[in-house]
Symmetry: C3
């Protein structure tokens, strides 16, 4: 069964990007599977992911039904052998196959707890659905990855590199400050997609203590000096994440890592990316977000074609 | 006007089961009423009921719109003559006809308060919608009944009896422990459907103090000794409910009524049912739920065909 | 770009009413724009507005997706230059263009805070979406106006005036008591629509201290004595609103302004309107709401045709 949980399920990334751009030009191109049913299960709130996936489903003629489980009293149990006399009301072993019987594809959104790395990185929620649902499962962001976002990111880089006639862009994933501890999933996922894609010179920049897990970043070059990393960059992907080594913590950082036009003087052509939502003047300054440099809206718009291309592949391979 | 509130609205149950199984074989069989509008009003949370009814609506080509009123600030008043200077913001006498003007059929989900039997058993919420909405009303579970569940239960028993070549199955409705006081509606409803159906030898097993209201169970045999009830059972429907006589209470019970393989030695062929969600190792053990005996997933899957058969009948009779 | 924020966007009101009545007679008349996408963003709870707009969308063949942002953790920032290190997680400058890229039309619902008149009457939420979304915006009720309601009100008056052969009806907007401070938007909006329409003799009745802002009521006559206002009225639109001068306050009122049959003796033919939800026996008595005088259900039903006529116009003008 073809799932979509990480870059390992992406096949040839350039093909997938081309599929997405073909769909962007002709949204109603592939309606062969019209009437198939997509269940979208949100264990955590979602705006862009939900809407872009629903729009992708509409374009494909799929019927989608959304389940917001965070607001409900529906607490799932994941532990094997649990005596369920507490707060959990249903075991994933019972819930997943039922949902699998109602839908042809399931999309699942879940966040890490950021308390215990081992727990989060085991991806027990997503894996339990894969194990028990009996239908293809698509990640709508999980504890450690956000593959639909990463694909949208590469679609966006491909488009702008073409537009600006850059053969092999220099792409920097750059840490930014935040007031809350955030997951590493966007950064992890972008790193493993960039590595698998290979279409860019990729490097990661962050203060000490914010090293990502090498299981995701592989051999990617890491730079601790922001100015050095920015030099001649074509794309700067700004994103906060909390510490991996001191798991889920916000560590003291020297200097202000918020990006400014001044810092970008050594990269005059750089396009600035962010997965949104972005806290202005904390993560990214108004002067950048309101300028032509920012391509965050285009990047969010590409979430539709990312989801649509992936849904198309899942449908082609499974039905 | 044809509503669907209890077994009294079911007509010939075997016909309804056959309709459901015909739709299961060909989900898109009856689309004559495509475009009719179904309003699904949830005064209490719902997962299986909501999704299975939405899927049934999709199969029939109906447009369905969900209203979750539990999460909103929309508190309905039901008392005649109430001076509404408190928490209720709209009277059902005003809300129901408006909803009736927006939809062709209304589905309503409501739970009992479990404080006062008379109040709950009067079914004032459901009856107020029947009285004031002006369109057919379908119960999506009410204070005292869950008819779409009961029909799915009988569809499931019919399928497995056929499969195992059982002419007249022995069906046991068996009480199980729980940590919270639960409604009697699933047990009430299953009892009255079993009585009306007549296709099985039906008995009810529970500890003393958990007697159901005879208005639902009729002449059904009640057994207080779990082992005795299980003897040669073909189907054991496990379900907790709170006390009726000491209304809404959890009473002390001698011994552990949780079903185990050991207890099932006298019923080696028995299939185990539960309406889900089920708390594992409290209501039903892992060893049973993870075994071939358990048909809970199939039972939940049949919720689609139950809803679709009922919607079909309501449409045929009213439009 | 054609938006729909107030009566200023309505064009010829009689034409719009005729369009609505044509659609009421033939709901599926205009499906030329089938497949366009409508995003419905609710920053505050909604029942009638949401459902009637979704039904209107279904009639037009539009795909609609609902976003309830009140229940989510999605707090928008509206202040220019804000350093977002507090509770807001996304700036409207970033959220609106993304939503605009997912949808062809956006509907927005937002309420006033009732703390500061200047803030509320600046309509910053609605105006920010108009400024940044890049697609037509339709008000689903805003801080100071409820134009889809006002259009439904005039459709209803037109229908009943025709039915009762009244050439130029006398229409009274009449304040009523309430236990909570309510917005002025329904009253504001109805006033400016009545003035712009000109098809009725319009007057406003309320206790002293409840004067509406003249920016909305214009030259409309205001009467402080309930009995005098009711004399020979053809339509009485009952509605509570909080004080404008002592902004958002409930002021002490002499006498009981709740409408009764007795008070209506001087207006024996008067039809009673209310936008719903209505608190019975506080705002309006049972004796009136349960009588033939009340046309509140018909009025709420016309919300569908109001929304459908407006959506049609927006589609015709923009696509």
């Amino acid at each position: 069964m073809r799932h979509f949980l990480s870059v390992a399920d992406a096949g040839d990334i350039n093909n997938l990007v081309e599929d997405a751009l073909r769909l962007k030009a002709r949204p109603d191109l592939n309606r062969r599977f019209a009437g198939k049913r997509l269940g979208l299960i949100f264990m955590n709130p979602s705006l862009r992911t939900r809407v872009s996936t629903q729009v992708a489903a509409l374009n494909l003629g799929l019927d989608s039904i959304v389940l917001n489980t965070s607001g409900d009293s529906w607490q799932l149990e994941f532990a094997e052998g649990a005596v369920m006399d507490g707060n959990t009301v249903e075991h994933v072993k019972d819930a997943a196959p039922v949902l699998g019987s109602y839908f042809d594809i399931l999309g699942i959104r879940t966040f890490p707890g950021l308390k215990n790395k081992e727990d989060d990185y085991a991806e027990k929620v997503l894996n339990a659905f894969v194990k028990y649902a009996g239908v293809p499962v698509m990640s709508l962001e999980s504890a450690t990855r956000h593959p639909l976002q990463s694909l949208a990111d590469i679609i966006t880089i491909t488009e702008y590199a073409l537009l600006q006639k850059i053969k092999r862009p220099k792409v920097v994933l750059m840490w930014a400050p935040h007031v809350k501890p955030l997951p590493q999933c966007v950064a992890n996922s972008f790193s493993e997609w960039m590595n698998a894609w290979g279409g860019a010179d990729f490097l990661i920049a962050h203060p000490e203590g914010y090293e990502l897990d090498r299981a995701f970043t592989g051999e990617a070059k890491v730079i601790y000096i922001q100015e050095e990393a920015l030099q001649d960059a074509d794309f700067v992907y700004v994103k906060n994440w909390s510490s991996v080594s001191e798991y889920g913590k916000i560590l003291p950082v020297e200097g202000n890592w918020m990006l400014t036009n001044e810092k970008l003087e050594s990269a005059p052509e750089a396009r600035i990316m962010h997965c949104l939502p972005v806290r202005r003047n904390l993560v990214l300054s108004d002067e950048i977000l309101d300028s032509e440099r920012s391509i965050v809206t285009a990047q969010a718009g590409n979430r539709v074609w990312s989801a649509q291309a992936v849904l198309s592949e899942i449908l082609e391979d499974n039905f």
